[in-house]
Symmetry: C2
Subunit: 177 residues, 2 copies
């Protein structure tokens, strides 16, 4: 890190030349911040029919339960990203089974790509962003303590399709967000 | 647009506090440019078994044929983005059928979400980024003039699955990129 103090970026909304919509442009340096939606990759991973959940150690929704998932990084495939997140958040080694769902969450500019997966071993442990990790039988999933709506969707869609090998992946349920 | 001349952004690679990997940070204003991969949404859209292709009017691959597709915008679902791109590039009104494929192209930091779709009417016309649009019977697809590898993948995957209603979406073919 440089020790030189830096000004804060100062973004204004402008329509750049040749474009059809406003973008955030930094008044200091003319950088155009193309705020395209981000991709979240994650998995519903099981061991012996129990589902891996992680208790969040960070905001938002600290203390609530989530699936291992996070932002895809540059240079990764969606599959590699889902495997990395499972290891980062739960020290879990997975084998991906198939694509479970592609959810769009326009309000927060996210597309979530969720896989169905199997744990290679039941040894899981909290990574830095998790306060706890646990393998939950379906009947014991802590529904009132689930962190985000899409986690609930993925769990329900996983359960609906658990006996199927070939199916179209789910998208947002009709009730939407 | 402001007329005031602006300096160019000047990005250096730094590991921001609390992070585990280098990011691009502007030396002028400390803006952290999280370069997450971008989402491309598009479709293989048909009318009477003919496939809609667009001849690119812009670089890269100007003059080559592509499927209607482009970057997902903030505030859109993947479905809405695919419909918008078909209209922008080919003035085509579509009805999406189902998810055909999710391709990862780590080299250029893209995830491509491709749908199978039907044209609501055969009236298509070039938008500003297309030099021509055409409905191609499968046997006449101009393979040597296809713009990008993923367009070829989507066309082949579309053809393989054309008689199926329920199937797992495709990902990158094994030969990869």
């Amino acid at each position: 890190m440089s020790d030189k103090p830096k000004p804060e970026p100062r973004f204004t909304r402008e329509i750049p030349p040749g474009e059809d919509r406003e973008r955030s442009v930094c008044a200091h340096c003319s950088f155009i911040d193309y705020r395209n939606p981000k991709i979240v990759v994650g998995s519903v991973a099981t061991w012996d029919e129990k589902i891996l959940l992680c208790r969040r150690a960070i905001e938002p929704r600290k203390g609530f339960w989530t699936l291992p998932a996070g932002f895809l990084e540059t240079g990764e495939s969606v599959e590699d990203g889902a495997l990395r997140e499972a290891f980062e958040e739960a020290r879990a080694r997975l084998e991906l089974d198939r694509l479970l769902a592609v959810y769009s969450v326009p309000r927060i500019a996210q597309v979530q790509v969720m896989f169905r997966a199997r744990l290679i071993a039941p040894d899981v442990a909290p990574g830095p962003e998790s306060a706890a990790v646990r393998l939950y039988p379906w009947a014991e999933i802590p529904w009132p303590e689930i962190a985000f709506p899409t986690v609930g969707w993925a769990l329900r869609h996983f359960y609906e399709s658990r006996a199927r090998t070939d199916f179209a992946p789910y998208s947002n349920p009709v009730e939407g967000l």
